[in-house]
């Protein structure tokens, strides 16, 4: 019985992994935005100009 309890989740691993593939676009997008924001902050802290729409607007 204990053995089955350990084996069952492993037997479903393929199913779980296939489900995880649906998450990949969300992770890529969120990671990309997070990286971009962090990069902008680092540049701003270093006193360099950031092509940022917040302040100032650049499309005027």
């Amino acid at each position: 019985m204990i053995l089955i309890a350990y084996i069952l989740p492993i037997a479903h691993a393929g199913h779980w992994l296939a489900s995880m593939l649906y998450l990949v676009p969300v992770v890529i997008l969120a990671g990309g935005i997070f990286w971009q924001r962090r990069n902008d902050k680092r540049l701003r802290d270093a006193g360099e100009s950031v092509d940022d729409a917040d302040v100032p607007f650049t499309d005027e």
């Binding site: 479903h12 593939l21 676009p25 969300v26 997008l29 935005i33 650049t58 499309d59």
Partner: protein, 437 residues
Amino acid sequence: MNLTAIPLAHGLGGRTDLPLPGWLFAWGAALVLALSFFALAALWTEPKLEMARVRALFRVPGVIEPICGAVGVAIFAALAYFGFAGNQDADQNVVPTFVYVFFWTMLPLLSAIFGNIFKPFNPWRALGRGVSWLRSRRTPDHRHAPARFAYPDALGRWPAAIGIVAFGWLELVGGEQGRDPSTLMTLALIYAAFQLSGMALFGVERWSERGDAFGVYFEFFARISPFTIDDGRLCARLPLAGLTDIVPLAGTVTFVSAAIGITVFDGAERGGLWESIAGSDPSTFVSTIGLIAAVALVAGFYRLGVAGMKSSHIEKSPRELSLMFAPSLVPIALGYLLAHYFSFMLFVGQALPHVIAHPMGNSGPPPVDYFVSGRVIWWVQVLALLAGHVAGLIVAHDKATAVWGKARAAAQSQMWMLVVMVGFTCLGLWLLSQSPA
């Protein structure tokens, strides 16, 4: 074939022998959304929906609405009679099929195309208006009496949100009781009495627009439509433009999250993940928690997108932003509904003419023949989800251009909302992939 083995009000699977794995569709859909986002940022530089004009087409004769109201009351009364006096077999009595197939799944779609067709037929609103009219005839100048109480701001759309969750519970957790014709009609009568009480206290129109779960439900979907009735005239407008006029009230986010969350839970409860959490035969309590968790998941995910907006330097509170952008969830709710229930509508919908023709349910099970392949259904589901999310992106972007003033700033503010939209799309496709074929 008969309906005996088909659960009423549950989406049916449609996937068979797809040429590509399901997750690849999610990746493709995410790509389409990302491209749409950049196209909007480049080309949609000013608020078009916010500024859209409504064009009057023609005046609707005043007598139409009372006639529709009388028809709505007559249909409701007839359903009550059939529900109590007819055959109590849920597959043969007209009530469960009418409620779950026509009312819950088809009417939102019709509303999104033709406008709020439920409103003039709404039986409790018609009764409320009738009583109000009769009372006005007793006054010397025939004026309608004002509402007893002003509708409290704090109440917002909370009664409607609670009502829609309760209906979702009846549909998904209520089991056999939720399909029983006499139980359904008993609950419908209790609901009608509650609506009439709300109208008596706060006024017919005010309560219908805020407290009536179905009034709000169909009104929200109708705002996608290019048609509306304004000041007694049939008017045309840009599709989706009506969503920009939704008054931001407390409970709105919960209401729209519930509309999506109910579908999410319906899809999830028949998949492997829910079974591994709740077991193969979960109790009512566990299923109730699951339903509430699905609504909370949708609302929480949306709040993350709003928190991302807040980081774009704006003098508005997260609550204000949350309410302002809530209408962008409405097309997503429609996409989820169509994707989830499309096969159900096609399949069980075939029973509608039969049960309407034999409302007492004494002529045997309705004949049903499947006539669309699983692959076609899958493509309709994918395209419905995608269209709903692209429409949601458009509504959110349009609102952002109005709030932020600059297209570039608007686009930056919506980046986290793009993640939310992609997340909802992937979730929807994953849920569809969980459906038994």
